[in-house]
């Protein structure tokens, strides 16, 4: 039973970190970027490329993967979000971020190839370590560190407070002199860095595979929908619940039911609590 729990937690931790990246971008732009999962994929692919092809040590490849993620976050804001938000109040960002995500996946497939490629062992450890294997604990560790860092950032730094102000009311924040455009760009860069780190940490588990992004985009989205949009605790709870549910569904009923049960659970949660488990209930003046 322990292998089921640990592997479910590890996969769930990757979903949770992806959900945190979603939240970061959403907080300043009210955009749920479809590129989020692709950032995670780029972190894994960039890490594998830097270590396997260029021979970089893991300690150097890690900041490299984070930088690639951060750069892609900035690109998302610049290409697919900023211009669309400026010109339209409609949800056209769904199309623009979907287009960028699709182009990114295709480009990686063409350059990197369509077969999964190996991700190197990051720490010296026997492959017979069982549930103590680093491939499970690295994503879980990164998730815990990310939540702690984000909470510290929001509560203790000026930039964190600017994020919250922009999230609460961008017009009021602008009226008080906050450059909301810069805040939004920074949030995408941070989300990109977090996604890159997440992909790097989960690389041993997922391999460096071009199609990873789509699965992360979907499952990260389910995680925040279940946990509650905007809540870090919700992202973690949603991600871990989804990972465990998928692992137990496979264990008890077989892989054919994994996605059905996971998405079915999402439907049930949304029917009972449309705002998610930890989301704030929306108020509308009438």
């Amino acid at each position: 039973m322990w292998p089921v729990i640990v592997s479910g937690l590890a996969v769930g931790a990757s979903y949770a970190t992806t959900a945190l990246a979603y939240n970061l971008m959403f907080s300043t732009s009210k955009v749920l970027s479809v590129t989020t999962g692709q950032i995670v994929m780029l972190g894994a692919v960039a890490g594998a490329w830097l270590m396997n092809s260029l021979g970089w040590p893991a300690l150097l490849a890690l900041p490299g993967a984070i930088l690639v993620g951060a750069a892609f976050g900035a690109l998302t804001e610049w290409v697919a979000v900023r211009r669309v938000l400026k010109r339209s109040d409609e949800h056209l960002w769904i199309l623009s971020t979907l287009a960028l995500a699709t182009m990114t996946q295709q480009a990686v497939a063409l350059v990197w190839g369509t077969e999964p490629r190996p991700f190197p062992r990051l720490l010296p450890q026997s492959f017979e370590a069982g549930i103590a294997d680093q491939k499970f604990w690295l994503p879980i560790g990164v998730m815990i560190a990310a939540v702690a860092a984000l909470e510290g950032f929001y509560r203790r730094t000026m930039w964190g407070k600017l994020f919250q102000a922009t999230s609460e009311d961008p017009f009021a924040a602008e009226a008080r002199g906050v450059d909301t455009g810069r805040v939004r760009m920074l949030s995408y860069v941070l989300a990109g860095a977090l996604g890159g780190l997440s992909g790097f940490a989960a690389g041993e588990l997922t391999f460096a595979y071009f199609a990873l992004g789509l699965s992360m985009t979907l499952n990260g989205f389910i995680a925040i929908a279940v946990g509650g949009l905007g809540s870090s605790v919700g992202a973690v709870a949603g991600g871990l619940a989804l990972g465990l549910l998928g692992a137990f569904a496979t264990y008890l009923f077989g892989g054919a039911f994994q996605q059905t049960i996971a998405v079915g659970a999402l439907m049930v949660v949304l029917l009972i609590r449309p705002e998610g488990l930890f989301g704030a209930r929306g108020m509308r003046a009438v």
Binding site: P3, V11, T114, E115, P116, F127, K135
Partner: protein, 386 residues
Amino acid sequence: MRSPLGLAAALSFVLATAAEADDVVRIGWLSSLTGPLSSAAIAENQGVRYAVDEINKSGGILGHPVELLTRDTAGDPVKAVNMAQQLVFSDNVKFVIGPVNSGESLATVPALSKAGVLNIVIGSLEQLTDPAKYPLAFRTINTNTQWISTANRYAIDTLKRSKVAIIGDTSGYGASSAKTAEALLKQMGVTPVYSVLIDANKTDLSDELNKAKAAGADVVMPWTAATGLCARILNTRGDMGWNVPIVGHPAVMALPIKALLNKSEYWKNVYASGYVSTTFQDGKLPERTQALVDVIKPALGGKIDFTFWWVALGYDSMKVIAYGAEQAKSLDPDKIKTVLEHTSNYPGVYGAYSWTPEQHNGFPDSGMRMNAADTFQDGSYQPAPY
């Protein structure tokens, strides 16, 4: 003096005859050169293109040069069927090779057959050929049943195993193959002790392999074409220290697996259905395979890092069209159909093909051979121990 009308008629006759002589034979090639299933297509494309070059250098088909119209379907059945229709109705092709994947072929085979196009099928699912429903569809690749039966016989009769664990993936192909494998084993009097379908992207397989071990499995048979899943099966077995033989789909011996293994020795005791044509015997490949390797290898930079039977299959699929047309002395698909239906042991590189009016699957059982996965060399393998 001849009338202007007569001159015009004579001129148009001469021009028409000249145009006919110069007319090219357009052959459509539906190939998933990009997308998640591109490895096989890229290799097959090498064979198809080389065969076209060879045919054109020797004067074309019935004196007509071949023009290859390659369409990248990206592994998408919707794109595949749209491109097939474009090839038929816009480009006026009479011959189509492909698509590469069975899922795409399920969509294109009926459409091409209805349009009167001769279709060389290179997907392995059984239902892609049916002389009554698709009279112009001829298969060059082996069927899925041939892969599965070959592996089953090896596991049961040669390795003397009887407690089988079947692992499929949740794709249509994986689920259908696992079901077929189970049914064929039952025909041999063996009921699998464990059978499971797994999401191809599942990251940890220790539950499944522990359950297989607890069920008493003495052989694991994977039926999936997903490289990542195959590698994880091998890694999990190795990490568990469970040296049970793995016998199954050719994907378990594809070269990309090697790089994904935690340890290179995890590729030992792994056997897959392969071919006589790409199996070394006493250190040598069959003559026709070696000849093709010799001409294609330099063009690939002196190294073949993909399974060579894909190249041979692409090469043969093009050559079969040329053979049919030359024998029929016509480019009419119906006449070529008649020739192919009376073809016995046409000597290709990948295999010796025979088709009949009742049987449009051309690859013979005798062309199948089990291979040892860890012996990959220039796209071919050593035979599995018998």
